[in-house]
Amino acid sequence: MSISNELVNRYPWLPSLKKYYNDIGEKPPVEFIAEIFNSPDNHQIAERVLNIFKAAFDNLEEIPNYQIDNLNVYVYLLLKIILYALNNKLITNRIANLYSKNAYSDMERENNESDIYEISHDLGLKINYYDPPIEYGLKIVKDHREPRRTNFTIHYIDYLRLASNLRDEYRKLTNNTLINGFVFVQNKTLIRLIQEYVRNKLLIEETDDKASLKAFIKEVSRIQGFKDLYDKILSLWVERKEDFDFTFKIDIKSKEELLTLYPPCVLEVLKKAEEGQNLAHHERLYIVWFLLALEYPVENVINIFSTLPDFDREQTTYQVEYAKRKNYTPYQCSTLKSLGLCMAEKYKDELCLTGYGSKDPTERKLLKHPLAYVRIKQYRTEKEEEYLKNLAKRKLEEPKNQND
């Protein structure tokens, strides 16, 4: 089955892009950029790319005046090249979130099952399409019974690959219907999974090869149109950057040292926030409850979210203050594990992995709550300081004794 050219133009992140535009794929990026800026559409393409960056920096949920035509492919490819050149995780995350949300809204608006099937197929997802929709349950409200139907089932391996990062209860495999290897998904959920694919597609890893990057920027900057666009985006970023500054470390000077006492699950969420990655619902709740439990000032907790693509200060303030009033307890380790938020393995954290309480591995107790991690680390640090103090004291006393 071959996907239509129209769908590839509309969704240029589809793998079939290579098939329809293989002439572009074979060109070196510099040549491709030169071609764009020598084409009669160069102003329009540059304007559209700039528009995406502006929308991302303005925390918009959708790209305004987004047009679907054959230029869309060039806009997408140029966008990716600029993200590579900018080499800034915060910007990349904001663009990836916005662009993928935009794709979601567009697919949802279109709500064309056959397109969604074609898209899923092009993405290599193992998917079944049912027309008419297949029934897999019943919704009973009082005496009213309504069948639950869907057009799609997706193989559980593909489902897990796309959904396990979403970290929300509704996407957990346990809370979904799984029969004979296939998960029953509503159209909207399938589109949400595709959105995750699009987001991942735009997440270019930051490069460590600064020399090659510098050489690339130098070379493409010779193309005036590109240089103008690149400079405009940079100056926009400089103007707006302050709004997204991650203020956690700077503002909480009195408790700065506490950062070394945090468990890896907290460090990971803070790292994601610092990089401007979108945080899942549970990650947001967890970090707020955890920091409030340690009596961090509300304002400082709010500022952590300032880097997030959907940050709204007023709404965040309300939610953090509400959480403080309610005095919620942060998730315990077993819940964090189940939500995929436990980072003990990733960070190879000794305290999380091997526990505490005894040198004998068979007698060590495993942590049950992340707040206990802070307490144990604090205890160990104090003991260490005490030991060093005593050691220093003894060293000071030693020469005296010799003199005696």
Binding site: L138, K142, T174, N175, N176, T177, I179, N180, F182
Partner: protein, 427 residues
């Protein structure tokens, strides 16, 4: 000759004799191997690799380890000392069902503990010492037909209630092995599963166990002071739960009462139990008809219903050792090897042999894990070194219980078992 040297030589002789029948795992040269030797000062020797079956077999025969493991993962460089240098290629999905990790009633008869804090002793599987509340114990875990039957029930549940109907996994892609002690291992190979990361594997584990299920998302909700429950017509966990509820409600009242009061299960107070029993027939009828889903039992609010459903989920879900399935760098017991704590063989079995498989009294010689059987009715003299040793029933005959200092004469396989358990010495 010390007992350990005796056992090592015995294992060595076994491996030598069975050289040809030692199974070879798929992608042998890409797997990491680990040994635990008999010498107590060395804990584990890992990061080993074998290019050929002969190389592996030679090594096993030469070292005759107490325990032998291989990785579920495949690596480009399985012998690299650091995990990050091994060049990970993927990991089979491994599910370990081990009675060590969950409560069985028979443990009250044969699992002994001594509190390390106060010296109090008892049997069973307490979380804390009933006397001083400490949680450090010296333990002596035993094995019996009952716990092995429970382990078998769990592995059958795993296969026939989850892996085949829900995950669509083919019987021929599953490999089952008796662990050589108190459980079973199930391994599923295949490129798709091998590519899953730990987060994705956790999702599978949560599905199999029912951990962190959201009753709200399955339909439990309070609306206008009425509790709306789950429906058995909703395929998936909702249906599994409701079938179990129906099965539970169909039991005689006295049995329901006993289970609801059991502190290892529902642990309901008498008031809630009485209320539940008063309404149980109405509740059962409502579920059977499936027309309405308003759950009305006096005194039962959302919290009580969740407590009830949580226990039902525990019964539906599979008792498995979660880290084994999630951790992609785990080593698991090598099939066909001998378990150093029992002397039993880690016995691979075919799916169609599972139902009748009886590890402690298996009539089919080909899959019998008790490999050190007595020939010519020879018996071995031992002295018991542990304060108490529970009764052992192997091959239909009972041995013990014993107490420290007791001198006994037992057949070879029992002698090997007691020596491996380190509760007796040769005299």
């Amino acid at each position: 000759m010390t007992d350990l040297i005796y056992l090592k030589r015995l294992f060595q002789a076994y491996y030598q004799e069975e050289r040809e029948s030692i199974p070879i795992v798929n992608s042998l040269n890409l797997r990491e191997f680990g040994f635990i030797p008999w010498e107590k000062k060395v804990f584990m020797k890992r990061h080993m690799k074998f290019e050929t079956p002969d190389e592996l077999k030679d090594n096993i025969i030469q070292n005759a380890p107490k325990h032998l493991y291989s990785s579920g993962s495949l690596y480009m460089l399985p012998d690299a000392k650091e995990m990050e240098n091994k060049k990970y290629l993927g990991c089979d999905l491994i599910i370990d069902i081990d009675v060590d990790h969950f409560y069985t009633p028979c443990k009250n008869n044969h699992d002994l503990w001594v509190c390390k804090e106060c010296g109090n002793k008892g049997s069973g599987m307490p979380d804390k010492c009933p006397k001083c509340k400490a949680s450090k114990f010296s333990k002596l875990n035993w094995v019996c037909d009952d716990c092995l039957d429970i382990a078998k029930k769990e592995i059958k549940k795993l296969i026939y209630d989850f892996l085949i109907p829900d995950f669509g996994i083919n019987e021929k892609d599953m490999k089952i092995a008796f662990s050589g002690h108190r459980g079973y291992h199930l391994k599923i190979e295949g490129d798709e599963l091998r590519s899953l990361n730990s987060d994705e594997r956790r999702e599978i584990v949560d599905y199999l166990t029912g951990n962190n299920i959201s009753f709200e998302l399955l339909g439990l909700i309070e609306r206008s002071k009425e509790i709306h429950g789950l429906s058995k017509e909703n395929l998936g966990w909702s249906q599994k739960i409701m079938r179990k509820v129906e099965e539970f409600l169909s039991k005689p009242k006295t049995e329901i009462e006993r289970i609801l009061l059991d502190d290892k299960r529902f642990n309901f107070s008498q008031n809630y139990v009485s209320s539940f029993l008063n309404y149980k027939d109405d509740f059962l009828e409502l579920i059977k008809k499936g027309e309405r889903n308003v759950w009305a039992i006096e005194g039962f609010g959302l919290i009580m219903w969740k407590k009830f459903l949580k226990e039902i989920v525990k019964q539906v879900g599979v008792e498995l050792d979660e880290p084994v399935s999630i951790d992609i760098h785990r080593l698991i017991r090598y099939p066909g090897s001998l378990h150093g704590k029992t002397g039993f063989k880690v016995q691979e079995i075919n799916m169609n042999e599972l139902e009748d498989f009886n590890p402690l009294d298996e009539p089919n010689e080909r899959i019998d894990p008790i490999v050190f059987k007595t020939e010519k009715n020879l018996s071995y003299k031992l002295e018991i070194t542990e304060m108490e040793v529970p009764m052992t029933k192997i091959k239909g005959a009972k041995y013990g219980p014993y107490v420290k200092g007791e001198k006994i004469e037992v057949p070879h396989h029992i002698a090997v078992f007691l020596l491996c358990k380190e509760v007796a010495k040769l005299i």
